[in-house]
Every structure is written in C-alpha cells, then in structure tokens.
Symmetry: C2
Subunit: 247 residues, 2 copies
C-alpha cells in the first residue's frame, strides 16, 4: 500500500501536479533537527473541508442571534472604507496536505484521528461553537451552544466539557497572539453550572506576555453577561520546532 | 403523552408493581425545599445497564495488564479471610429510575442526554477507563486508554480531554470521601503531552478536608510512573439538597 502511494506520488510529480517543499513536521517521532521532504498533493484530490463554525439548522435562536451580532461587526469594506474590529475564525480541520514519501502518507490515510471538540458529526449533539477575534482589543469571544451529549451532573454540562472549550478558546487566542504555543496551566474556578442546551459566551483576554509566556484570562457567562459560570487564568508557552519534535 | 405515562404509573401502583418514596430530586428547577413524590418503576422495564468499566476487545495489552493488576488486589474473601484494599467502581450510568408524576417521566424519556465521557459508543474510539478506590489509603486510581477521537495537537490528546478525565476521577473520589460535591476549582499543570492511543494512570489522593471543602491532588503519569504528564490540585464543595435545588 505504502509503495503504491509512493509510486502514485512520483507519477504526479512527473506530471507536474505535485510541488516539493522541505519542511519540519510537528509532533512526529523523528529526531530533533531532522528535515524531511514534504509532498503537497493537488487540491482536487481533497475537497474543501466543511467549516463547522458556520450556522446550521441545529443552532437555536440565541446562538444565531449572537452569531449575527458579531458577524455584523466583522472586517468588511463599507462605503466609508472602514472595517469592523472583529474577524470570524473558520473551524480548525486537520488537513491531509503533507506527506513524507509513501509511508507517512499511508499512515495519515489510515489514521482515524479527529479533533476532540468536533468528533461527533451529529449537528447540535455536542459542541456547537464559533470564535471571533478582535485584533485591536486583543480579545477573543466564543459563542457556545452545549448539546445533550455533554452531560455531567444531570441536566448540566460536564466540568470537563467546559474545561475543553476554555482550553480551545484560550489556546486559539494565544496562538493568534504569539504563534505556536502549548497549554502549560489552566486554573479554572467553577461558579455556577451551565444547563444543557443553553448558549453561553466565552470571553478571552490577553493579560500579559513575558518572554515565552502568554497569560490569558477567560470568563464564561450567559450571553447577556448577567450570570458568571466560570473564571479562568491560563498560561501558554511558545514552542519552536525543537520543542515540537522533542516529544 | 405525559398524561398517558401518568396513567400507566397509576396502573402499576394499583398492581403493586411500583413503590412510592418521598425524595428530593437533584438539579431540577423547583423551588428550594420543595419535596416531590418519587415513583420507582419496576426493574423489568429497564434491563441492567452495561458496565463500561469492564474489559472489552478494544483494550490494548497495557490497559488489560493494569486492569488485572488492580483487579487482583480487590476486596475478596481469601482462605485466610482477608480482603484486598482496592475496589473497582462500576461505570456511572444515568438511570431512568425516578419519575415525578407523568410530566417528569415524559421529560426523562424524551431526553437524549448522555454522560460526556461515555457519549461515543464505539469501543476504543474515545475514553476507555476504569476506576479503583482504596478506602484505607484514601486513594483512587484510574486506568485510561485514550482513543483516536480525543485529538488536540496532531497525534496527541486534547488538553480538554485530559481535564475531563481529571475532573471525572477527582470528582468521583471526592464524592466517595465526602458525599455529594460540586467542582469548585481545577488547577492543572500540563507537563508533557500524551500520545493518542496510549494508556496512562491517573492517581488521585486526598490532601485535606476543611468543613465543606475537600482538597484533592491528581497526577497523570505513564503506567510505570516514569513520565509525568500533568499535576492537578482540585477543590470540591459539599452540597446539600438546597444547593442542588437552588440551581
């Protein structure tokens, strides 16, 4: 199988459909400093992945209302030439766009790995969320509709599901501010449980940056801000290729 | 529908198949101090739920080996009459065993809610775990095999999935020690990422109890203890019926 794919790649190269780059692959078990040859496959082989941050029929009225609120303030050319301060982030999808020879490609194809927050494809059943960033204010907000498969205490969202969204939002925000990072600390204070099915707002703010460290705070509230569900301080460490490849 | 179920319940009561108890229902939106009449349905209507903490074919050799290690030290009568210090906890299942009149039962039947850590039924795809408690040493251990649907950084477990298991294990331990509790704080230090598919050990220890507060520490390590993945301190608050019903 691996050899066959290797041969297919060589065939594409001959036809001029593949480009070659030299690049480091994060999170693979290769010695530090190893450089691999990357083959980028032609885009027609892989259709554009679905953007899960766009509205779907499972979204309730509150989720839709909040989405439209931030979407209306997003970057766009207006008559006066001004732009809004917010920008919607498309959902993260693990793309099959790198391959190191036939063997690595084969492993990637065989892999069933899926992002934890998007591992249930039934719309509305688990995490329905969308992120917006505000570059000027160094803020990030996430609108979350918590589905029925996220239960902890009966009728309420699991503390781990809340932590998962906090890690996702603050981690995305830290990456936006500082480049590649890894979570070093999450300190979460749970103030009030979140009823299953409800829509809440996660607001992430930059506290400070010190060398490799990015400090973020995050509050989870009701969409009108009247109820505080959790408060978090998070620390992220910037990482380099050597950190990634060191394992 | 609600009325029909109410009538069915009354029918069962007349036949002597239902017992009546007066009990408080946690996490329902009723005024503080309200007492409701609970109807317990006959067990033949609901077959014994599956115990997800028992071995299944998706378990790898390391998961199985660790399970057998703790299982062999569990409470059991020996020739000398001694018992082991550990006890396996069966998996938590949300049972449909309480109903308040027809309306509440109807809501429960319609509800699709599922425990976050058990919401994917495909064995081995997400969280495979089993908990053991040691009453003498006031310890709890959890053996976790992290499936391919828990991905965060490519090839590694999502920080939120790790937090989810920490909340589950420390919360179960705190409940075992102090009765009904709610998570008040989780302070998680991430030291080393966990590769997808690997088996790790979560060890939860009682630090101290002060009034309503139960302080727990938790370490996530490789099964031989040589690699430290995360360190956590957790705080749980004991809750009473009024806390539960207060929402």
């Amino acid at each position: 199988m691996a050899r066959s794919i290797g041969r297919i790649c060589k065939g594409f190269q001959r036809l001029g459909l593949l480009s070659k780059q030299t690049q480091l692959i994060p999170f693979t078990r290769v010695p530090v400093g190893t450089v691999r040859t990357i083959v980028t496959l032609p885009s027609f082989l892989f259709p554009q992945p679905r953007d899960f941050s766009l509205p779907n029929p499972s979204w309730g009225s509150e989720m839709t209302r909040m989405y439209e609120h931030y979407e209306s303030q997003c970057e766009m050319e207006t008559e006066g030439g001004q732009k809004g301060p917010w920008r919607r982030l498309p959902s993260y999808n693990r793309l099959l766009k790198y391959a190191t020879g036939g063997v690595y490609l084969s492993k990637m194809i065989q892999s069933k790995a899926r992002l934890f927050t998007r591992n249930i494809r039934n719309p509305g059943a688990a995490f329905e969320y969308v992120l917006f960033v505000n570059k000027e204010e160094q803020k990030c907000v996430c609108i979350l509709q918590a589905g029925h498969l996220l239960e902890g205490p009966p009728g309420h969202v699991h503390g781990g599901a809340i932590a998962t969204m906090i890690d996702t939002v603050t981690g995305t925000h830290a990456t936006f501010l500082s480049g590649p990072v890894m979570t070093a600390n999450l300190n979460i204070n749970y103030r009030r449980p979140i009823p299953l099915g409800s829509t809440v707002l996660l607001e992430s703010c930059l506290e400070k940056k010190e060398g490799r460290k990015t400090f973020i705070t995050c509050r989870v509230t009701s969409t009108d801000g009247s109820k505080l569900h959790t408060e978090t301080s998070a620390l992220f460490l910037s990482i380099t290729a050597s950190h990634l490849l060191g394992g």
